[in-house]
């Protein structure tokens, strides 16, 4: 991983089209501004991870009522489920 130190007001360019500006640093929070083409999705990683987890649950929900394989058994403990997931 490339590690860079930046100050508020400074920028990073990723490729030719993506620009990240450090807007402010307050305590343990960093405000970033991201400019990117419209076809480049920008996501908060934790939301993606929560949707991935919901997708795995959805894949396990069995329409026939059978639990014919581990994958379709909704009651199988999720290997990555270490703590309750907040709803929201």
């Amino acid at each position: 991983m490339l590690v860079l130190s930046r100050r508020p007001g400074e920028r990073l360019l990723i490729g030719e089209a993506v620009e990240v500006t450090i807007l402010a640093v307050r305590g343990d929070q960093v405000s970033l501004g991201v400019s990117a083409p419209r076809d480049v999705p920008i996501h908060r990683e934790e939301l993606l991870e929560r949707i991935r987890r919901e997708n795995r649950r959805a894949a396990r929900l069995n329409g026939s009522g059978e639990q014919s394989s581990d994958f379709t058994n909704p009651y199988r403990p999720l290997p990555y489920q270490r703590q309750p997931v907040p709803t929201g």
Binding site: D39, L47, L48, N55, G63, V85
Partner: protein, 151 residues
């Protein structure tokens, strides 16, 4: 049975849950980016099992044991009207006025036995081009686990 030639319309999928499933081209949807966590699965059959209407399943063609139950999102929450990110319509080959199907994936939470709909990461399908994608809604009031009822 006729040999399953590549490119024939009625390709057959085998699923332990659903049995043999005909997969004609008109019921297949291409997800260029897959679904989150399942990026390698890009072709899905839209399967409507008898007796489960309006629930349908997205059955992965490459692994038919993997199937995602879906429900039109508007049936989950009457006022559901998410702002889709700008990249969605071009990705699905849809013009600004073309109709898109917005679907919620259903999940069962085993701890509570409740059935939920994911309204935060809806699946959007353009039936005209048979392309689909999963959309991530940031800064949105919709729930990742919208309660539908006891499962």
């Amino acid at each position: 049975m006729a040999p399953d030639l590549p490119g024939t319309a009625a390709h057959l999928l085998q699923s332990r849950r659903f049995g043999p499933l005909e997969a004609p081209a008109e019921r297949l949807v291409h997800f260029p980016a897959g679904l989150l966590g399942f990026e390698e699965l890009t072709e899905f059959l839209v399967h409507a099992p008898e007796g489960l209407h309006p629930i349908r399943f997205l059955v992965a063609c490459a692994d038919p044991e993997i199937a995602f139950p879906i429900l039109p999102a508007a049936l989950c929450a009457a006022d559901y009207a998410p702002q889709l990110p700008a990249e969605v319509r071009p990705l699905l080959g849809a013009g600004p006025a073309d109709p898109l199907e917005v679907l919620a994936l259903l999940t069962l939470v085993p701890e509570t036995g409740t059935l939920h709909a994911n309204l935060r990461g809806p699946v959007v399908i353009n039936a005209a081009t048979r392309r689909g994608c999963q959309v991530v809604l940031h800064d949105s009031p919709y729930s990742l686990r919208h309660l539908l009822g006891a499962g």
